[in-house]
């Protein structure tokens, strides 16, 4: 029983970060319909910004987080303006190839600048964990969970409760109509991609200090983000959050009670099962056909 409780706590802290990864991608992949292969690189980018600001410039850890989010926003906006805007209207394969190219170029660039050896970032939290009866959890991970929850809430409100969010949803449902209603479509494209990118960078910035930072760290994160988005249903923020927690639960219980050798496989087995029974994901709206 104690072990089970600990697994549940682990699931919560892991799920929070998976959810954060998922919502960033669901905005871009789900709403904008761009198969964003740079999501993992932006995650890595956020982690390296933390490394630069905290370890190299010696600045405050909590100051570094918004810096990483802002840097992710700017890099995302730059990618949209230089790569995606000229390709708008071209077929999905072309965009996908360009994004794969951007992924490889940026990852190699990171490797070129920083080398392949992992870096770590010191976080200003006590080393002794918080112990609550049979379970214990590190303060850093609790902070990450709280920060992830806050970012998820802000994103949810932004998309569902603000006029920018309404304009975003309108644009990707019907670009021409949105444009006729006075929506600046170009601005919406850039800001949606930038917001999704800043969420990826935020996830990297939060998780970099938990784990270690290296150029390929985003690859597995990106695979998981895609899985979460597909699991939850494309473009659905609630779906991405629930998907993140389901994936974390499957990994924890799979590793804890089935076999740790298949930990990463567990999540994907669940996804296969969901896709067999609900091919559009758990939370997808009924799609309009035609």
């Amino acid at each position: 029983m104690n072990e089970f409780l600990q697994h549940l706590v682990n699931m919560l802290v892991l799920g929070g970060t998976y959810a954060l990864l998922g919502i960033g991608l669901t905005l871009i992949f789900g709403i904008m319909n761009v198969v964003n292969f740079t999501h993992g690189v932006l995650y890595t980018f956020g982690a390296y910004v933390m490394f630069i600001v905290v370890q190299q410039l010696g600045l405050n850890f909590f100051l570094a987080l918004p810096v990483a989010v802002l840097a992710g926003w700017l890099l995302g906006a730059a990618i949209e303006l230089t790569l995606l805007r000229p390709l708008r209207g071209s077929d999905i394969d072309t965009t996908m190839l360009v994004m794969i190219g951007a992924w490889i170029a940026m990852q190699s660039g990171t490797l070129w600048i920083w080398g392949g050896v992992a870096k770590s970032v010191a976080a200003p939290f006590p080393e002794a964990p918080l112990v609550l009866g049979p379970v214990s959890v590190s303060w850093l991970r609790l902070f990450v969970l709280a920060a992830a929850a806050l970012l998820i809430l802000v994103t949810y409100l932004l998309i569902n409760r603000t006029s920018l969010g309404r304009a975003m949803r309108a644009t990707f449902q019907d670009q021409d109509t949105a444009s006729l209603m006075g929506v600046n479509v170009d601005l919406i494209y850039t800001s949606t991609f930038a917001i999704g990118s800043s969420l990826a960078a935020a996830a990297g910035a939060l998780l970099g200090p938990v784990y270690v930072i290296f150029p390929q760290m985003g690859d597995l994160a990106a695979v998981k983000a895609f899985a979460i988005v597909i699991l939850g249903g494309l473009g659905n923020i609630t779906g991405a959050v629930v998907g993140g927690f389901i994936l974390a639960l499957a990994e924890e219980l799979g590793a804890g009670y089935v076999s740790s050798g298949y930990r990463d496989a567990m999540g994907f087995l669940i996804i296969i099962a969901v896709l067999i029974f609900r091919p559009t994901g758990l939370f997808a709206r009924a799609e309009r056909v035609g």
């Binding site: 104690n2 072990e3 600990q6 697994h7 682990n10 892991l14 490797l111 080398g115 392949g116 050896v117 992992a118 770590s120 080393e127 002794a128 964990p129 112990v131 214990s136 959890v137 590190s138 991970r141 784990y211 270690v212 290296f214 150029p215 390929q216 760290m217 597995l220 990994e251 924890e252 799979g254 590793a255 804890g256 740790s260 050798g261 930990r263 990463d264």
Partner: protein, 384 residues
Amino acid sequence: MTRALGLVPAMAVATALFGGAAAAQTIKIGVNEPLTGAFAASGTYVVNGAKIAADEINAKGGILGKKIELVIEDNKSNPTEAAAVAEKLITSDKVPVLMGAWGSSLTLAVMPKLMEYETAMVVETSSSGKITTTGNPFIFRISPPSAVEAAAFKGIVDKLALKKVDFLVINNDWGRGTAEDFSKMMKDKGIGIGLVETMDQGAQDMSAQLSKIKSSDSETVIVTTAVDQLTLIFKQAAALGLKKRIITTGGSQNPDQIIAQAGAAANGTMHLTTFLPWFPDKTPNPEATNYFISEWKKRGFEFAGCTESFRGYDGIRTAAAAIEKAGKAEPAAIKAAFWDIDVKGLNGDIVFRKSGPEGKESGQSQPNVYLIEINDGKVAMKAL
């Protein structure tokens, strides 16, 4: 047009001549190491150690009157890449001997290529037993197989009063091989074997495995993986309040890096290692050890890397000794010469003994194994 075409063979001949002449001025040694991916830190240390050996040899005039040249390639911590790199080094760079490939799964992937091209390789780090028992006569290993580590550890299990142990090992030939060899030794000693948990080589979150181990009835955990993952394990074990004794194996722990990155979480942990840079006077060849450590520091590398990099240093010196003994930089002669060398390695004399099926034995030297303990952020030696 005809004349232009006629130029092509002439150019090919010229390239072959000049190319051949250029190649003959140095003796190449292929280095196949993970410089990116999960084992980037370890592979980079080994390569830096290898460069110290090459520079030292060249400063003394090289071998057979020629300088040695390291051709270094990145196998990306990926077995498929490791095999491709070996093929590239042998066929395109024409190296007569190799060193590599750090991880057991990487080395095992390279081994068929060595058979195919009949080129020998010094195995500097890998510890899976399979490497020297499957009958590959082109393998010369200077690192201890996990059975040798287990045998060295046998003497101390009584002193540590082990009753039941769990394993947390990297899910590849190295980790699984270690769990197998150590379990066998411990069962013979009447020690109970509990959980055998694995983790993917790129995994960053081991909380699930550690939570399971926390709830088991064992008092000790044997952990086998490289330094980056070890650091994460110590941090995550501390966060989960795991109070068991942790002993690591494999010699790729870089204890100083663990102390620096895992802090207090590293205290009380024990590590089976194959080099003692903290106590140069206790190593088999103190003079060589002191030279290596001073050169390592002079180059501005972190001291933590010494426990890994010395293998690259010894590996290149081993390959160079074989080339010198062979009297020529040809694969077959070098392979034969490995059996006749005696190198003063930093971890004992490197002399190859036969291992594996008769007629196609691999070479295996008998390096020392030590147990160290981290106390109050410092490394202390435990008597084995």
